[in-house]
Amino acid sequence: MAVRTLNNKPIEFDAEGFMTNYKDWDLEVAKVIAAEEGIASLNDRHLVVLNFMRKEFEAKGDGPSIRKLTKESGVPTKELYELFPGGPAKKAAKIAGIKKPHGCI
């Protein structure tokens, strides 16, 4: 556990860098995390994915798998990898402020 101040708010992260309380999230926080993950700016397509992930987490208590993202968010797998290089499910979960999806082992 680590508490960091992002966008003038104290925000708690787990050992792997996932936010522990998704309600502390806002777009400014997302931008800071994204930059740390090597994504310089967030565009509309990033936001489609992030919003889908947050909605899914709110409903199910777990982030979606890549397969589910592709099937239900309308963003094709190849684009997901372009938007979030190096592992969309995990990286997008981090930036979306939700816990590490169980599917990401």
């Binding site: 890549i66 099937k71 190849k78 372009e82």
Partner: protein, 409 residues
């Protein structure tokens, strides 16, 4: 007459039928089990077929020989499960009603999920080994293969028996060494996982094994497509791995009947309570083995431990009591490491594989997370145990609940 219906007469369904036939009164209960064909396959045996250690005869037996008397056996595909009507429609049109339903329809490789996998090169330069046809075709190919780049690729997790691809790599190293071909064979293990396996300590150890055996590990490779003409696999982020011979572990999915029934997840696995094994679909439906969406390994040992738990919970459900037995995610896997040696891992939802002795603490005869000849004998002996004890629901000297006794942190 009350009706208990089991879908699937594989490892999970067969064990369950045997356990329940022993205790449910035949005057009160009709037990029916459905499967699509007459042959029961010992799936862990597929691994040995490409290397000529087992033949198809070693792994296929008549299903009915392993099902108890008094259980009605129905052969046919499943069209749709209708939870609201408590009934199942078979593809031949027959309708089976039930009071309680156990779904044990398993998981299977679906190569059609990956662009380029199925085509002219399927079973020519591209093989699977999780089916009898694939393993047998690969056995014929390996007999005459003269060397080159052998790539073992897990397309996507989760898969059945997640250690089997590693075992395949270890056995391939042994097989080509014995044949005097090893200097002409490059072996590369390409996985979507961050390392050789899912759990940290086992992953580190198995990663070292790959190193020692001169097997190259390429991790975090999410396979997007296969270019069978140019002989390369391509990841979603456009990385490429070239091969001469590709051994693929395709995407695994649950039965299509689950999708038709409208309650599976995106891979047709069934939402299931991870402790009670009751489905989240309806209270009188339970799920067992590979068909569940549980975060446990999809493996025969898991189905076997789950069967002990489900047996107790089903009897509670029949009597209208709360479900008392809790599945802890227990899995127990022998890992064949080549040259007549093997490892053994024992773990559950919470505890990763740890070193120690098994099943008798301090004594063994098996060693956990350690390479020994005895572990190899255990794996080879297990085929007999499977056909003669496990499927029949007999008590084995291993508890359904994982124990820390004999393990070292």
């Amino acid at each position: 007459m009350k009706k208990l219906l089991i879908l699937g007469a594989g490892t999970a369904g067969t064990i369950m039928a045997n356990k329940l036939a022993g205790v449910l009164s035949r005057d009160e209960w009709q037990i029916t089990i459905v499967d699509r064909d007459e042959s029961h396959h010992y799936q862990p045996g597929y691994l040995f077929i490409p290397f000529g250690i087992y033949t198809p005869r070693d792994v296929v037996k008549p299903r009915r020989d392993y099902l108890p008397r008094g259980v009605e056996v129905v052969m046919g595909g499943i069209e749709v499960i209708e939870p609201d009507q408590n009934r199942v429609r078979l593809s031949g049109g027959r309708v089976l009603g039930y009071d309680f339903l156990i779904i044990a329809t398993g998981a299977r490789p679906v190569p059609a999920q990956t662009e380029g996998l199925l085509g002219e090169e399927w079973h020519r330069s591209i093989f699977d080994f999780y089916t009898l046809e694939g393993a047998s075709a690969l056995a014929r190919r390996l007999q005459h293969w003269e060397g080159g780049r052998l790539v073992i690729n897990i397309v996507e997790m989760p898969i059945k028996c997640p250690v089997a691809p590693l075992e395949f790599a270890f056995l391939a190293d042994w097989f080509f060494t014995e044949a005097g071909l090893r200097p002409k064979v490059e072996i590369e293990y390409v996985t979507p996982l961050p390392g050789a396996f899912t759990k940290p300590r086992a992953a580190a150890m198995l990663g070292d094994f790959l190193d020692k055996k001169n097997i190259r590990l390429t991790a975090e490779f999410a396979t997007g497509s296969v270019d069978a003409g140019a002989r390369k696999i391509v990841s979603w982020d456009q990385r490429e791995v070239a091969y001469d011979l590709l051994v693929t572990i395709p995407t695994n999915m649950g039965d299509e009947a689950i999708a038709r029934s409208g309650f599976g997840d995106e891979l047709n696995f069934i939402p299931t309570d991870k402790h009670t094994l009751r489905s989240k679909v309806k209270d009188n439906i339970f799920v067992l083995g590979d068909a569940t969406d549980l975060p446990a390994s999809k493996a025969g040992s898991v189905a076997h431990f789950q069967a002990d738990i489900l047996f107790e919970n089903l009897l509670d459900a029949i009597d209208g009591r709360p479900l008392r037995a809790h599945f802890d995610g227990h899995a127990n896997c022998f890992i064949e490491s080549g040259f007549n040696k093997g490892l053994l891992i024992d773990f559950n939802y919470e505890t990763e594989p740890l070193p120690g002795k098994f099943p008798l603490p301090g004594i063994g005869p098996f060693s956990l997370l350690e390479e020994t000849k005895m572990n190899h004998y255990g794996k080879m002996m297990f085929r007999w145990v499977y056909w003669n004890l496990l499927l029949r629901g007999a008590e084995l000297p291993i508890e359904a609940e994982m124990t820390m006794a004999g393990k070292r942190r």
